[in-house]
Assembly symmetry: C2
Homo-oligomer: 170 residues x 2
DNA sequence: TAAGATTGAGGATTCAATCTTG
DNA sequence: CAAGATTGAATCCTCAATCTTA
């Protein structure tokens, strides 16, 4: 199906750094993520609760000082482009879960502020979300494994964010 | 959702098992995934290589007998709805990386078949992909941790797929 | 009727361009 | 001119409806 020599050469180089076991772990990582997310999203939707993307925004706001965050900060927190976040806030604002407020000290910017309805929606979703995390994620792991996972994936996260090419904000 | 007494019971139960440490691991899982995927997609795009979704399809075909798969099987393999896969195959076919073939024994169905150009595109992308897995994922982990991660996330994946509500194929 | 696949409509996200303010 | 935010165009996904064959 292709030049044998080239194929061997590529494989050699690659195998030196990313061997079968690395690849197995990587595939497990991707598959586990896709499966668990699909499962939890499905259960939230079935109960007519907010989707995960909305939940993430509401939690980020809840945890912020005064339950408010600049739109840029929020975009970074939930890993979304600025334009994507802008439209997400549009939808949340229309649903009454969040409200925009102009910034007094920098009139270019705006805050997103959590509303009582937003907090309520977050609290309604939480039991289902928590149950999903428990059933599809934590239940399979020992307490030691949970901690180990947090540690390992924390390092992976840090590595991936390290030296980001400044920023890609649309 | 359910009777009050039961709901309270669920909350108690959930808090007992889904504590701060579970949540920390879960968040690390989500963040690491988002960050690493964004990084690798960016590097593939910067080098004008195929995106991960295309790569997944090409690998699934490469690993299949005769490098061909029914569209339904392919949809399941790459975790996409049937309609989503149908359009993805449209694009891959237009790029010449895959070709559709009607099934002789069941004329309702069709196969997706990997073309030489498709295999070549897959091989071109692989070094960059592999380097990304190495740099942002495996590099941060010891060999023991890599194996442990594969084991843990394999169990999580199995748990999430267990007893899937039959199938959701659009 | 059901199953495999495609098509139409709508949602959500991104990049590039734009507007406003620093 | 740079930075925060929004808008327009394009992409890609899903659900529901449809078409063809079993």
């Amino acid at each position: 199906m292709m030049a044998d020599a080239a194929e061997v050469a590529v494989d050699d180089e690659v195998m030196a750094v990313s061997n079968e076991r690395h690849l197995a772990a990587w595939r497990a990582f991707l598959n586990a993520h896709a499966a668990v997310i699909a499962r939890i999203e499905g259960e939230l939707a079935a109960r007519e609760l907010i989707p995960l993307a909305w939940y993430d925004v509401l939690v980020a706001l809840w945890e912020a000082p005064q339950h408010r965050l600049r739109l840029s900060e929020l975009a970074a927190a939930v890993v979304l482009s600025r334009s994507g976040l802008s439209r997400l806030i549009d939808r949340l604002e229309q649903a009454g879960l969040v409200r925009r407020e102009p910034s007094p000290e920098d009139r270019r910017g705006a805050f997103a502020v959590l509303t009582p309805a937003g907090r309520a929606a977050q609290l309604r979703a939480w039991p289902v979300y928590a149950q999903g995390i428990q059933t599809y994620f934590a239940q399979e792991l020992t307490e030691a494994e949970v901690d180990r996972l947090a540690d390992c994936l924390g390092r992976v996260d840090a590595a991936a964010r390290r030296g980001l090419p400044i920023k890609r904000l649309g």
